[in-house]
């Protein structure tokens, strides 16, 4: 499931563009674009089997194409990011929806957010346990409630009132995540559970949050992010994903979705700060993302990645971890999927 465009010249050009992490486009005919991520972390070729790699690529391709189909059909960026994220929530490989990591009690607690850059309007849910597609509930919060963020049982009460069918906790649990939880608990036994957030913590193994940003035909941007958070989490911990401005943000000129060590993303207000650097310091999107990932975030010890898109269709997919599951597709024929540092 690598690139469908097999022309070697095209491939070379695409690889070069990805290496530069952004592709400036001519202003004339604004393209439709969708960019997705399926998490950042220790994603290295040496640790990956061919089957797993193919399976991840297939999962990313399915989400990318689902989102792109919406844009191609003239649909909104909002619907496109919703479709892409929903696809990854349903895919047990990713840390969102089914197959999300388990909390300390062995239960999935899911967070999601969506933002419409043209409002700006936003909706988010945190700590839900019985909602098959948290991203759809976040959208309902945005569309049908006066609120932005609903948490826990209150969010599920709202879901029921909106006619959402709840699923049992067992729907989300996969054998892989159960094994990971056991491992994490063994590792955690050696450190106190309430040790303060270290300035430079050890890099976590994988941060599989999923997300998407899109630009539609009418020039509107949207962003969406969904996650199970971190394995073995305690105390109702909420990361950056449902926090508007931290893990998810979309305005008129810029949309961002993040994946990484959420606590650091919250403290730096990562998604909004990238847009502020573009708008106020007049940095290019690629440069703003680079400053965030390789300077600001790295300096505080935060690890992860972001995808970002501006209203001209310029995009960035950058990370300071070993790898990031990612993909981009636009109306100019680009369709890339990559996982590793080296643009593949």
């Amino acid at each position: 499931m690598s690139r469908p465009h097999s022309n070697p010249l095209t491939s070379l050009a695409l690889a070069a563009a990805v290496l530069l992490r952004a592709a400036p486009l001519v202003a004339a005919d604004p393209p439709v674009v969708i960019v997705i991520h399926g998490g950042a972390g220790v994603i290295e070729r040496a640790r990956m089997t061919a089957e797993r790699e193919a399976s991840y690529r297939a999962g990313l391709a399915a989400a990318l194409d689902a989102g792109y189909a919406v844009l191609e059909g003239g649909g909104s960026a909002l619907d496109a990011v919703g479709a892409a994220v929903r696809t990854m929530e349903d895919d047990p490989q990713f840390n969102a929806g089914r197959g999300a990591v388990l909390n300390h009690d062995g239960i999935c607690e899911l967070d999601a957010a969506i933002m419409d850059g043209s409002g700006p309007r936003a909706g988010a849910v945190a700590g839900v346990r019985h909602v098959k597609n948290p991203i759809d509930l976040a959208r309902l919060v945005m569309d049908n409630s006066p609120h932005v963020l609903l948490a826990g049982q209150g969010a599920e009460e709202f879901a029921l009132a909106q006619g959402v069918v709840l699923v049992p906790e067992s729907y989300f649990i996969t054998p892989l995540r159960l094994r990971e939880l056991e491992e994490e608990k063994r590792a955690a036994a050696s450190r106190p559970p309430t040790a303060p957030l270290p300035i430079r913590p050890p890099a976590p193994k994988g941060m599989g949050t999923v997300g998407a940003v899109a630009l539609d035909r009418t020039g509107h941007l949207a962003a969406a992010t969904s996650t199970g958070g971190i394995s073995n989490k305690l105390y109702g911990r909420i990361g950056d994903t449902p926090i508007i401005g931290a893990g998810t943000y979309a305005g008129e000129s810029c949309a961002v979705s993040g994946t990484g060590q959420g606590e650091f993303y919250i403290r730096q207000v990562v998604a909004y700060d990238i847009c502020a650097m573009v708008q106020y310091q007049h940095l290019t999107l690629a440069r703003a993302v680079e400053v965030m990932m390789h300077d600001k975030l790295k300096r505080t010890g935060g690890e992860g990645g972001v995808i970002a898109l501006d209203h001209d269709g310029n995009f960035a997919m950058d990370f300071n971890s070993a790898g990031m599951h990612r993909g981009v597709r636009d109306s100019r024929g680009r369709r890339d999927i990559a996982m590793y540092r080296d643009a593949n």
Binding site: G152, P196, I199, Y235, G236, I243, E263, I266, R267, A276
Partner: protein
């Protein structure tokens, strides 16, 4: 120079509906909070300790919508949110939807100092509190007859006439200490008749609370959903840091231009790296107070 500013919520505060006795109670409450925070700064304490002390006083005062006397949810319970941020390393802690924590700002601080996380919510946050040795209090502790009658009014579909104290209000403090360290803290019960589980801007770092040394510290109060969408507190810091706006201009632009454009109102207090205090609002009034080592000392409502 060291300085502290506090707010006790913004909203429609028509002079006519606020009796002299009540006004006196609010002023006394603000004064006590300002005293508590300023005393910390005066004896060389940190801005972090100062904002904690000031917010704790406001949480304990049933006049204000935080801690005891918080606005009640649709099901008649108090559900509290709070956040604190240290401008030094931009460390932060926050709690949302806790129902049995006497001083949510102290739990937020504990999250910052003793957990690996920034935001804890609901029962999980209270579990953490118990492990940290907090004594939980019954939810009844927070409920006052005044809030109960406000809830009943709201549920009967009657507009609460005076919003006193503002039911969308919040309390907060910002401070700059002798070493130039900045800190911000915010605490609230949220909106009257809110849906259980609704989280506003107070515990959202970047929305209702933000602090960054060398730039500014900000605490917001108002219609939280709008402050979240505008990423209000961080927006103010970004305008100061990236565009070189004064804090006063940055806050004015956010309140009177951006938020008004979105249809949201409220107020913000901020202190910049030089210890200059700004207090502004787009509502009829905001309970507020400021004091600094250069001799500024004020309490105001309108």
């Amino acid at each position: 120079m060291y300085a502290i500013a506090i707010h006790g919520g913004a909203g429609a505060v028509p002079r006519a509906t606020l009796s002299p006795e009540r006004e006196q109670r609010y002023r006394a409450g603000l004064e006590a909070a300002l005293d508590g925070g300023y005393a910390v700064l005066e004896r060389g304490g940190s801005s972090l300790d100062a904002v904690t002390a000031a917010v704790r006083v406001l949480e304990d005062d049933p006049c204000f919508n935080a801690g005891r006397g918080a606005a009640l949810t649709r099901d008649g319970a108090a559900e509290l949110d709070a956040a604190i941020m240290d401008g030094r390393q931009q460390r932060a802690g926050a709690v949302a939807s806790v129902r049995h924590i006497k001083n949510p700002v102290e739990l937020a601080r504990r999250v910052m100092e003793k957990s690996r996380h920034v935001l804890l919510v609901g029962a999980g946050a209270e579990e953490f509190a118990l492990e940290e040795g907090f004594c939980l209090v019954p939810n009844l502790y927070f409920r006052t007859p005044e809030r109960q009658s406000q809830l009943e009014h709201e549920q009967r579909g009657e507009r609460v006439s005076d919003l006193v104290p503002p039911t969308r209000g919040t309390v907060g403090a910002v401070a700059c200490d002798r070493d130039g360290n900045l800190a911000a803290a915010t605490s609230t019960g949220g909106m009257t008749n809110k849906r259980p589980g609704r989280v506003g801007d107070s515990p959202i770092i970047g929305a209702g609370t933000y602090a960054k040394n060398g730039v500014c510290a900000v605490s917001a109060t108002g219609h939280g959903e709008y402050f979240i969408r505008a990423v209000a507190a961080h927006h103010v810091c970004a305008a100061v840091e990236y565009r070189g706006l004064t804090l006063e201009l940055a806050i004015a632009e956010l309140l009177h231009d951006i938020l008004r454009g979105l249809g949201g109102d409220g107020g913000l207090i901020g202190v910049d790296r030089g210890g200059q205090i700004v207090m502004d609002f787009s509502t009829e009034g905001m309970y507020r107070g400021a004091r600094d080592s250069a001799g500024r000392s004020e309490i105001a409502i309108y």
